[in-house]
Symmetry: D2
Subunit: 143 residues, 4 copies
């Protein structure tokens, strides 16, 4: 299953891709693509009350899930289309807590290397004040 | 905020802990603790339709989120109580796809080392046929 | 370049493999294979003075390099021969310091999954007293 | 044991630090610091014959060991002095093979976050042609 993207509206077509292929539980994160030039894709993750745990900060699970989702979209943007792929490995470091009232995080997904069968990426998470709160590196297999 | 656990019913008190402190979006995963002796905690993750993506397999995001959640519960079991903690780092490898009809996965969380300020753990994911489908290693900071 | 292994003497033929293909700087670690049944390979890493840093403990760099080496040998044992392969990713957690007088560490390399093009493994490091001091998880590409 | 650095010659004093505290086997890598402004430290790793394995490319073990070493020096530069620290975790991705005749690699170590007890960093490896060949992310504990 390959799904073409509209090169004149990469952000919009990536949002529609997520709507089409994303698991319902993942779509509930509310991630939106704000910009993409193919190699670098920027997303917005709203820090909604549903993502906040008893300690009053955004749960790390949202960071993990958003990193993986960002990479699927960023890699699709880099390919110019969605093609079947699978996460091989994802490593995430949590640098700072995200307060419940942070509003939204900005995610920047960069494709570091795209080979024939493997692709590598980096996803960095920033607050509105541009503080780096988390960083993920990941390997994908292109099927 | 410390929350005591009932040593005569660790699984039940870990489930109630998750209900009490887990973010609503994480609780929607439907994770349940099936056994715990303190050092090793076993959980059940139902592969519900909400977790399945367009490729017809369980989304990796559920694996990532469940690994992090399993470690919070497993580390609490090891401590005999919940105390504030934060994920420092989580690395997950995806060994095999999980089919949509897999039923439920069994997670085994082992605390590898619990120091004064840092704790290390491993979370392995198995199908009903005992196939290892994913493995996560993680570092937590005890606050 | 494929190199056959002697199934009647896996440890000996893995040692000779390392001697033949290992970089000189890696061979200086002094790693030796003590046992292998194909899926699980055990090695011995002597904690020599050359591996001890100014803080009086074994340097983490030796752990990292030994983990990668152990996986090449363990994966070759699993394949029954050496074939070209490359490390995709290696994640190592350092659980406890290794004192300069630890003698030797025991490494246990387990192949968690061997697919057609990717293989996953785990390498655990133990002291003579059976304390887990480090754990690595890794992904390899078979070329 | 704290060791001061000379702020008027950070690269030279980091080289002397490595000479003083580095394990002999690690010093044999021949790493040199070429620049540092405290937050970003650049190093040079010569691709010597001792680091090349039977496949004709630089061994991944050298990448791993150099990443860890770069972070010790980069974090010391950020602190303005060496203080006891220990690697908690190091994750490395290998993006491209490094040919035996690559000459030398350029490593860029960035301290992403330095807290009271934990520090996070990133080490990127480039060829002379500025190709990214490896990337490491790491967590350190300040003792």
């Amino acid at each position: 299953m390959e799904i073409p993207l509209d090169p004149t509206d990469l952000p919009g077509s990536l949002d529609r891709l997520l709507e089409r292929i994303g698991a319902p539980w993942v779509r509930a994160l509310g991630l939106r693509v704000t910009a993409s030039d193919g190699e670098r894709t920027t997303l917005r993750l709203p820090v909604s009350a549903d993502l906040v745990h008893g300690g009053g900060v955004m749960c790390g699970q949202a960071t993990l899930a958003a990193a993986d989702t960002a990479m699927v979209l960023g890699l699709s943007a880099s390919l110019g289309r969605f093609q079947p792929m699978t996460t091989v490995q994802l490593q995430t470091s949590f640098l700072r807590p995200v307060p419940a009232d942070a509003g939204a995080l900005r995610l920047v997904c960069t494709v570091l290397r795209r080979g024939r069968s493997l692709a590598f990426g980096d996803v960095s998470f920033f607050t509105a004040e541009d503080k780096l709160v988390a960083q993920a590196t990941t390997t994908y297999a292109l099927l």
